[in-house]
Symmetry: C2
Subunit: 390 residues, 2 copies
């Protein structure tokens, strides 16, 4: 059960349709697959999606953090020495996606070693989650069309609407069209990715006061400190802190500072170990949580549902688990399926998923070294700009 | 791995020397042994110490809660459906020791089933904890003598001094004598078990300002709300909330209300699952924790060290792990040994301990029904006032 090697494989899979939002846009899933190898041959896997516009990480920075900082710190530790691992990884600041992927790959390996699903090891509350689908910037017509399609094809009835454009009336029109076309049977909430000022946010929420929104997430910048507090005081719906409150200490500051009413938990940035800490803190403080999406592929989405299904508090609201629908392909041998508005926890030990090695070979950006575990340097050099063909 | 039966066996083991403190005194360990049986023959065990003066529980109330409320709610659930178990147990309020013992017995069974130590499953940070020894009411001479003896015999250098007597000068004299006799090489803190008023507490702390105390715990009643806040503002040492802040919501109220600076975690009242929640909440809020003692025997102490050793934050301070030294006997096959001021996590799957069935037969207060699992009614009738002889 001891860690012998940690791989970081950069890969890129194109999106069928780019996702656009206030802080950026995504055309390809340029992520890093992290694999934790153990002495007895068990391998755990997880995904690191770098988000430079949110956390400053890049594909090369994730590879470097995993291979030059975390791997040497963790080699030789047992899979159950989790708190020791984090004490060592905590000597490095930042790098949340890299750190989270290592944590979740260790949990996957542990689950496989014990023959247990990680969701059960974490808490075992439910066997799946309701799904919330994210709608990126577009015209009201096309966003309504997408929502109707996702509802028809997957049974999804909760939608997170990207807002934060100027003038804010653009986004108000979208939300109004969604409510009018989809009716009262759907849940709607909005995510501004810090695109508005506090003043715009308050005015936009007032203009949508009759739309029965569930939440309003990150409408304006967290560093707009007093503006955020004014927004929270005046907002008719709970204000969700996402990228402004990732670590437990940040969660405390935002909540106790009156800058948020609820917290988005993303396993892609806090893993399972850190997400559990954020969740239990929020539970203790009596604050709602949402399972968010770091524009995850299927592996990252599997991690989100594994964590979210494990606890009562995380299953109260639909989880953001459908982003992979916009990708042209993925890495899992058995694709995730959203049906009846619900995503089940993948069955089986660990995360319950397996990587399709042919697909990984096709989409990886480095030069694979083949099956020789010792020949590692080439594994560590991200760079090629386009996917190689298998 | 499914739960088939939960036993609750009342027993009593006399103390060699009674423990006296502001809220009560203890002459015997009149506890309840809780055993969770599973379909594949694995049995998990934990101890429930009823503390009527703190939580209102009694030996019969623990037996009744386990057998009439919790057992029917949990039978048929798998050992990894932990959050479902708690959702069901949470339909019953109160009964913390009964609930915690069921939780920890489930973890013990899970660890045995998986072949892993529970401390590793929880976090795996360390393999033991430094020990803090509790000194009950007596004369300064005898309390110094006990401290010197425990230091000489077990290497313990942290002492929790019971205070809360009137006049408070009695206790100030004890603390001063301890500091003078034991020198600067020991850590001292005080626990008032709500015995003083806020005014007495402030005066007593002022009178001990030169004694370098680590903490001051529950000096005055929590319902003395403004008095507690004044004490926290004026105290030169962090004020620890113990029995006033057991559930996460209470922890939030006490900390955010300015009525405490630190939190005592006791596995005997929050089990492992609830203790993890309190710990992660305190970590997120940046608040120190202490692993406390609910006047535990060796089984309860094993649970405390299993949890406390699992995390960095719980190992920062010595844990209260030595109370069993005052008991005339105990139930474990291999007694815990404190040496060099340290208690190791018992090695092996689950909690790493085993019950000596002959001793249990000797000290149990009900009529054992022998090995037939079906014949249960007599198991459930606590009552006989004195131990039977084997």
């Amino acid at each position: 059960m001891r860690i012998t090697r940690i791989e970081a494989v950069p890969y890129s899979i194109p999106y069928r349709k780019p996702l656009r939002f206030a802080s950026g846009e995504v055309h390809e899933a340029a992520h890093v697959l992290v694999r934790v190898h153990t002495g007895d041959g068990v391998v755990g896997v997880a995904d690191a999606p770098p988000r430079p516009f949110t956390y400053g990480e890049t594909q090369p920075s994730v590879v470097a953090a995993v291979c030059t900082l975390f791997e040497p710190a963790l080699i030789g530790l047992g899979l159950l020495e989790r708190e020791k691992m984090h004490a060592r990884m905590n000597r490095t600041v930042g790098n949340p996606a890299a750190r989270a992927a290592v944590d979740m790959a260790v949990w996957d390996a542990l689950g496989r070693h014990l023959g247990q699903n990680v969701s059960a090891l974490l808490g075992g509350f439910a066997d799946g989650m309701r799904v919330s689908h994210m709608l990126g910037f577009d015209t009201p017509e096309r966003m309504v069309e997408e929502a109707c399609r996702v509802r028809a094809e997957h049974g999804v009835t909760t939608f997170k609407v990207k807002v934060g454009r100027r003038p804010f009336s653009l986004d108000v029109a979208v939300c109004r069209a969604l409510r009018e076309e989809l009716g009262d049977g759907v849940d709607l909430y909005v995510d501004g990715n810090r695109g508005w000022t506090a003043e715009e946010s308050v005015r936009a929420l007032r203009a949508m006061a009759d739309l029965d929104l569930l939440f309003a997430e990150e409408l304006n910048p967290a560093d707009d400190v007093l503006g955020r507090r004014r927004l929270v005081r005046q907002s008719p719906v709970p204000v969700v802190a996402d990228e402004s409150a990732t670590r437990p200490g940040e969660v405390t500051r935002e909540l106790l500072g009156g800058s948020a009413d609820a917290i988005s938990i993303k396993t892609a940035r806090t893993g399972f170990t850190g997400s559990q800490r954020v969740l239990f803190e929020c539970e203790g403080l009596g604050v709602p949580v949402i399972i968010g999406n770091q524009i995850d592929g299927q592996l990252g989405t599997a991690c989100s549902v594994v964590f979210g299904a494990a606890y009562e508090a995380t299953t109260r609201h639909a989880g953001e688990l459908s982003n992979f629908l916009d990708m042209s392909d993925d890495l899992l041998t058995d694709p995730l399926v959203i049906s009846g508005g619900r995503l089940p926890v993948p069955a089986g030990p660990g995360l319950g998923v397996a990587i399709d090695e042919d697909k990984l070979a096709h989409y990886r950006l480095d030069s694979p070294t083949g099956p020789t575990p010792g020949a590692r340097p080439a594994d560590r050099r991200p760079g090629a700009a386009s996917p190689t063909t298998a």
